[in-house]
């Protein structure tokens, strides 16, 4: 509450400072107040639309994230991710989350497509200021390996899981899934 108060006071002194809006949004997100966080991140995104596209993209994706946490707004989520790609097509994060959005619905081809598009757009991958759940560029190969299995790309899927299995610095939950697949498919490193 103390940090929230501090950022709220900063906001009141300069309510059209986009970066102050974003900080206040982040504090609200930390305490689970997604609606309030959404308001301030959206203000920040609007204020930065023309002056700082990377930060605007980050804040706009935060509006998606709040409702992703709230759940039960899938069409909104899809729309926000599509709009984020339209605004910054050379950033990878929204492609990744759209790939997941579709794989969650067993829409394997669309999920695979967004994984391919994301992989082709990782050149602007400098980290965003505020976390929107992007563990790293490896996620596109992970999504391709996962969804490709269902659309006739099993050799590619096996090969990608083997390559992913060599990665050291990836989150543990991904490592476990990759290891399980390597084991279950009886894959062996040559």
């Amino acid at each position: 509450m103390k940090e929230l108060q501090k950022q709220l006071h900063a906001y009141i002194q300069t309510p059209q400072d986009a970066y102050v809006n974003a900080k206040l949004g982040e504090e609200y997100e930390k305490i689970g107040q997604g609606a309030a966080a959404h308001s301030y991140f959206l203000r920040a995104a609007e204020l930065l639309h023309d002056s700082d596209p990377k930060m605007a993209y980050n804040c706009f994706l935060k509006t998606w994230k709040q409702l992703n946490i709230t759940t039960r707004r899938p069409d909104f989520e899809q729309g926000q991710l599509q709009a984020a790609i339209a605004y910054a097509p050379d950033r990878p994060e929204a492609y990744y989350h759209l790939s997941i959005w579709h794989s969650d619905r067993k829409e394997w081809m669309l999920s695979y497509m967004y994984a391919c598009l994301g992989k082709d757009n990782i050149k602007e991958n400098t980290p965003l200021t505020y976390d929107i759940g992007y563990p790293g560029d490896f996620v596109f190969d992970f999504q391709k390996a996962f969804t490709g299995w269902y659309i006739g790309k099993r050799d590619q899927s096996k090969s990608l899981f083997l390559e992913l299995g060599k990665l050291k610095d990836i989150p543990q939950n991904f490592k476990e899934i990759i290891s399980e697949n390597i084991r279950d498919f009886g894959l062996q490193y040559l």
Binding site: I12, Q16, I31, A35, A36, S39, L42, E46, T70, R73
Partner: protein
């Protein structure tokens, strides 16, 4: 016009407090439109409206549309009703933070809703003749969404807040569609300011009870009568409507409240949008308009909405919602009124 009342308040020794109900209870959707009230024992009580949506509202140049435009109620997509619940809270005397809260249990009086908006909206809080009430607008009992103020007695203890009675108030004039934002007059039990400019005060007739069968149940109803109807009107740019309660002010029988007004427009995308403004308004003891402030915004947002005003220890406590997504309490010295801009 004051764009940022909160800054003036903070710069003059006041405070602002976010009002929070844990997200485990709300899924993180909007908290807004808070009504504050000082009880007989000095406790600071409040009703926080919890909406089951997050309001999407792009401001400034409105570049970032969501799937449904720049202004959208993000209800659960598997249940797009606009649902309101209410939390009665005790606020900390020093910090104004929410100290304890109870969700109002309305199950005793609920009938199955049949319109898009569910629940009691923008409830104001008061105690009249020793009985604790909340009073807001309900629109869910008739197929056309007719809205009426409903006066609800609440049994509120540290363990529960149970709506005991629910009476739908018929306005003095027939055939109106939507009655809302009636401002309870705190020192005149069962009286409301129905219209602010020119002022119309109505009295609820507690003895004139009736029942009405509607599609899903039976409504308990009370009639009302206009008791004050002034002609004198402030000529402003927009219609002035009720917001806070009306509270006694000063030693000469004056009363003060906060009003709101809405400036509708169509933004470049062609959709309907709005700016909300508020004002302080003071009547003398005979309900003559004494002073009205310039329009103000609380915190620079297009959509803000006040539903509460109280005085404690020389300070106003002013409660409001920000974009339907966040709730705040301002503590503002009463003397600061003199530094605000007022209409001639």
């Amino acid at each position: 016009m004051i764009n940022n009342l909160a800054k003036i308040v903070l710069d003059n020794g006041g405070t602002i407090t976010p009002l929070i109900i844990p997200s485990e209870l709300t899924s993180g959707t909007g908290l807004c439109n808070v009504s504050v009230f000082i009880d007989d024992n000095g406790d600071i009580l409040a009703n926080i409206r919890h909406v089951h949506y997050t309001l999407y509202h792009a401001e400034f140049n409105q570049n970032f549309y969501c799937k449904w435009g720049v202004l959208s109620y993000l209800n659960p997509e598997d249940d797009i009703h606009l649902i309101t619940g209410n939390y009665l809270c005790k606020l900390n005397e020093d910090t104004l933070e929410v100290e304890s809260y109870q969700k109002v249990d309305t199950s005793k009086n609920d009938i199955t809703p049949i319109w898009d908006f569910h629940g009691l909206e923008d409830a104001r809080v008061m105690r009249w003749n020793g009985t604790f009430y909340i009073c807001g607008v309900r629109r869910d009992v008739k197929p056309n969404g007719e809205g009426r103020m409903e006066l609800c007695e609440v049994d509120w203890t540290k363990d529960h807040a149970i709506e005991l009675t629910r009476d739908r108030v018929e306005p003095p004039t027939k055939d109106t569609y939507l009655e809302k934002n009636w401002m309870p007059v705190m020192d005149m039990p069962f009286h409301f300011v129905r219209w602010s400019n020119p002022v119309e005060v109505v009295k609820i007739n507690l003895e004139d009870k009736s029942k009405e069968r509607v599609q899903q149940g039976i409504l308990n109803k009370l009639s009302s009568t206009t008791v004050i109807n002034k002609k004198e009107k402030f000529e402003g740019p927009l219609g002035i409507r009720g917001s806070s309660q009306v509270i006694p002010f000063g030693n000469e029988g004056n009363r003060i409240c906060i009003t709101h007004e809405v400036d509708f427009f169509h933004h470049p995308g062609g959709h309907k949008d709005a700016h909300y403004y508020h004002r302080f308004l003071i009547w003398d003891k005979d309900w003559n308009l004494k002073s009205i402030s310039k329009q103000f915004k609380f915190m620079d947002a297009m959509i803000e909405f006040n539903t509460g005003l109280a005085i404690k220890n020389g300070n106003f406590i002013i409660t409001y919602g920000f974009q339907d997504n966040a709730a705040y309490a301002l503590k503002m010295s009463v003397s600061l009124l003199d530094k605000l801009e007022w209409e001639e």
